[in-house]
């Protein structure tokens, strides 16, 4: 019954379509696909492509992918990977008897390529046409040159037009006709595309015997100009990309080191377990994600929003406990505090290992953070990184407000500047210590949530950030929010600018060397506290 309706519908479509060949011809063409004569198969391909039938493209593509077969009853079926569908209707259908796949030799393929491309290039959907044009540009096929020219004539969308022009230019670069080559190079110069660098470089290169590949001086000149334009554009793209990645790395470093800097300024102790707060924050995210999976799968996309306060509270709590139980007893002995907090970090790592296993756990990006924003071709900014930069700005603003606009912040700053004097003015220095430790750890916990969106979450997560966040503190000075921001961003940017030039490892070494040299000039960091408080 349904089949009958479909056939009727199909008949209607065929009847309405002015360029359509008669149904009988299409059926004949489809039958011909099974022929042993490749000449007839090729002719059938052309005929199907010209039919204007909505299923023409899937059928030809299936043929191209060798997914097209006849079953024993003579029905033409497409293997979709999940099951078989009728070639002509797209209806699911179980094959009847043994399948006979349709083979395609080179002759058939030569007919197929342009046919499929033409169908795709005349699709009504702009995105589909763009996709097709992009593919033709990336993998040029001389057989499709005419198809592309004709598509360009009727194309109205400028982006698809550009892609088609570039695709044509790429093919005509090898044309016998010097004028065509010149036109191709001119197009390339006009629409600077960085992926054409190698084509152009081959054009202006010399053969091993010393003769020139391209002898026409006008073309050579144009090609050099195009190469220069590509060079400029590449530099620009790299600069933008590196800046973006540098800022996003800087944001992570800032989240990691903000608390470290505040507590160091306040209590003159380095908390080696600070990196583990990142790790605990990331694991809290993991736990919250699993709770959502278990209890509220529908709201899974929003688990991150719940993970933020959870991570802040968990890490803040661990931080306060750490201060109360250990750091307090080592007051005035910074080097021993350093060792003791290192011991704490070992125990925290081992605890997490026993609880969650030594392997990395999976924290998935929510759907609204997957994917990215294409700023320009060859430059995609992942949403997760954009979100982290924005999130860091928010955290810094909040911490800034807390430090400079609340009485608690005033107390922190007072104790940082002069502990004894602050205490004699009635500020409960010990309580400020504990709460600040908690605040710093909580911020690191937020950093852990952010990190869980960027990479692997494992027990050693915090270890890899500890040296870098200390460098931020060293660079930015202590007890100054602006210093921390500039230190972190400076380090992040420097990292990403140096890395492409010398590689990741050498880049890191160069940066560490630069920092050591930098402290020669400014031992107290970019923003030193002035007065006696500055003595470390």
């Amino acid at each position: 019954m349904r089949n009958a309706v479909l056939t009727l519908l199909f008949a209607l479509v065929v009847a309405l379509c002015p360029r359509a060949v008669r149904a009988g011809e299409l059926e004949q063409a489809l039958d011909d696909l099974g022929s042993d004569d490749f000449g007839r198969v090729a002719a059938a391909v052309v005929s199907i492509a010209g039919s204007g039938h909505p299923r023409a493209l899937p059928v030809l593509q299936a043929l191209e992918d060798q997914k097209l077969s006849f079953d024993a009853s003579g029905a033409l079926l497409i293997d979709t990977g999940e099951g078989f569908v009728m070639a002509i209707s797209g209806e699911p259908r179980a094959p009847n008897g043994a399948l006979r796949a349709i083979a395609a030799n080179n002759r058939v393929r030569r007919a197929l390529g342009p046919a499929v491309s033409r169908l795709r290039l005349s699709a009504p959907d702009r995105a589909a046409r763009r996709e097709a044009a992009l593919e033709l540009f990336k993998r040029p096929d001389a057989a499709t040159l005419d198809v592309m020219r004709r598509a360009l004539e009727r194309e109205s969308d400028s982006e698809v037009r550009d892609l088609l022009s570039l695709g044509i230019a790429r093919l005509e670069l090898h044309s016998e006709d010097a004028e065509r080559r010149l036109a191709a190079v001119t197009t390339m110069r006009r629409l600077v595309d960085v992926s054409l660098r190698e084509d152009l470089e081959r054009l202006v290169a010399a053969r091993p015997d010393g003769s020139l590949v391209e002898t026409d001086r006008r073309i050579r000149k144009k090609a050099h100009a195009a190469l220069r334009a590509i060079e400029t554009k590449t530099t620009l793209i790299n600069l933008v990309a590196n800046t973006f990645y540098g800022l996003s790395l800087g944001s992570v470093l800032l989240l990691a080191s903000l608390g470290l800097g505040i507590t160091f300024g306040l209590m003159r102790v380095i908390n080696m377990a600070h990196g583990e707060m990142l790790m605990i924050g990331a694991y809290t995210t993991f736990v919250v994600q699993n709770l959502f999976l278990g209890f509220a799968p529908g709201a899974l996309d929003w688990y991150l929003l719940a993970a933020l306060p959870a991570a802040f509270l968990v890490c803040g709590g661990v931080g306060i406990a750490l201060e109360r139980l250990v750091v307090r007893h080592l007051y005035g002995r910074p080097l021993e505090t350093l060792l003791a907090t290192w011991g704490i970090s070992l125990m925290l790592i081992q605890t997490v290992r026993l609880l969650f296993g030594a392997q990395n756990v999976t924290v998935a990006n929510p759907s609204w953070l997957s994917g990215g924003f294409e700023l320009m071709p060859n430059l995609v900014m992942p949403y997760s990184r954009l979100a982290i930069v924005a999130f860091t700005v928010g955290v810094v603003v909040l911490v800034g407000l807390l430090l400079y606009r609340t009485s608690f912040g005033l107390q922190i700053r007072a104790v940082t500047q002069n502990r004894g004097m602050a205490a004699s003015m009635g500020i409960p220095a010990k309580r400020v210590d504990a709460l600040t430790f908690g605040l710093g750890s909580g911020v690191a916990g937020l950093g852990g949530v952010a990190l869980s969106q960027l990479g692997n979450v494992g027990p050693e997560l915090g270890q890899s950030y500890i040296v870098d966040s200390f460098m931020v503190v060293v660079l930015g000075g202590v007890g100054d929010l602006l210093g921390a921001v500039l230190g972190a961003m400076g380090l992040g940017l420097l990292n990403k600018y140096v890395e492409p030039m010398v590689g990741a490892v050498l880049g890191k070494i160069i940066i560490l060397t630069l920092i050591v040299l930098f402290i020669q000039k400014r031992p107290q960091g970019l923003f030193a506290l002035r007065g006696r408080a500055a003595e470390v």
């Binding site: 005035g332 021993e336 040296v467 070494i509 560490l512 031992p523 470390v536």
Partner: protein, 388 residues
């Protein structure tokens, strides 16, 4: 007072001290080599190297108040220098039957890089094992101390140093075997490394080195220079006001400490048979500091004992309950500074006094209360004895 070197040397210990030292010497050089089962010889030999490194760290931390979290790099550099010699000593007996070390064949290198030249000579390799850590420490220390980087800042910078070195050595292109480091050694100075007699020989050499390093360090800290170092530790500004240049003293002891650490690394590698960048991990260097903290800072013998105790405990625990070891180590880091800031050496003194009938308990020098910013001072017994 007699100031000849020999006389001062004799005064390093009182009679009981020398007796204890002699007992240790007999134990290390005679009894243990003759009685230890074969499988324990390299293990204990390794501990002796750690004890040398601990003494080196005690010099800089316990006596001068500078906590280095990067001594692993000096240890490893000493080890790499000897490792390079051992690598070339393999000759064509490697997997690829090539003159080049196996990893270079694997990387398709055609000839020895320039910085491997000369390492086929044993004397040169030993010299480099001491010289390279020394020169690097000197340059690094000069820049750090000159700009008066102190306290936790210095500690963090040294950690960055070892971290950077680790990254560098992890690269294959650096030319030291990358990730895997140098291993698969066959001979040292013609003796087979798999022969138990060679292992015992290396053990005896390590023991002798430990004893000599101890005596030399003891001599140093008992000298006038040692007193300046302690003064730097307790109040650097005052030392400067009195006309001393702390830079020179700190730089000297820092470089010496690095050289001793290089020596320890050089003795370590032939006994364990491998050196890789893992030795430069920041964690490894921090563990070295905890040996000294456990043993007792500013005591030298305490530091050596701490290295033996902590590593002994590590061997036992990683055998029995590996998942618990990090807890034990972590707890040691936390509890020693809180509960026993003077380390086990302090309890050794108490024990000795108990044996002597509690006579001298009242005379025990008490450490001054810690200052706000200064490291806690630890008064050594030795310093009291040589005072005129």
């Amino acid at each position: 007072m007699d100031t000849s070197i020999l006389a001062r040397f004799v005064r390093l210990h009182d009679r009981r001290g020398w007796t204890a030292f002699g007992a240790c010497a007999v134990l290390l050089l005679l009894v243990l080599p003759l009685t230890l089962p074969d499988y324990l010889v390299p293990l204990l030999g390794k501990f002796l190297c750690f004890a040398i490194a601990a003494i080196a760290i005690d010099l800089i931390w316990g006596f001068t108040g500078i906590l280095s979290l990067g001594h692993g790099v000096f240890f490893a550099l000493g080890g790499y220098a000897i490792g390079m010699y051992l690598m070339l000593e393999i000759g064509t007996a490697g997997v690829y039957r090539s003159n080049l070390p196996d990893f270079m064949v694997f990387l398709d290198w055609k000839e020895l890089p320039w910085f491997w030249r000369g390492f086929d000579n044993f004397g040169f390799a030993v010299l480099m094992a001491l010289l390279v850590p020394g020169v690097i420490a000197f340059v690094f220390g000069y820049f750090a101390f000159r700009s008066r980087i102190r306290g936790v800042y210095f500690s963090i910078i040294t950690q960055a140093l070892t971290y950077a070195a680790m990254l560098l050595f992890f690269r294959n292109e650096t030319g030291f075997g990358g990730n895997n480091g140098l291993t698969d050694f066959k001979h040292i100075y013609g003796y087979s490394l798999s022969d138990p007699a060679t292992k015992t020989g290396l053990f005896v050499i390590s023991g002798a080195a430990l004893l000599l390093v101890y005596l030399g360090s003891r001599y140093l800290v008992c000298s006038k220079l040692g007193r300046v170092l302690r003064a730097v530790r307790d109040d650097e500004a005052k030392v400067r006001f009195m006309g001393y240049d702390p830079l020179r003293y700190k730089l000297f002891v820092w470089t010496l400490s690095a050289v001793l650490c290089g020596l320890a690394g050089a003795l370590y590698v032939p006994q364990v048979g491998i050196i890789n960048p893992g030795e430069m991990q920041p964690a490894a260097s921090i563990e070295m500091a905890i040996w000294v903290a456990v043993g007792g800072r500013g005591t030298l013998f305490g530091a050596a004992a701490g290295a033996l105790v902590v590593n002994g405990a590590k061997s036992v625990f990683t055998g029995l309950a590996p998942e618990l070891w990090l807890y034990v180590l972590g707890a040691t880091f936390v509890l020693i500074p809180v509960l026993a800031p003077r380390g086990i050496a302090a309890y050794g003194g108490v024990l000795a006094q108990l044996l002597r009938g509690r006579r001298a308990v009242a005379d025990t020098p008490r450490p001054p209360e810690p200052d706000r910013e200064a490291e806690e001072s630890v008064v050594t017994e030795g310093s009291a004895e040589v005072r005129p």
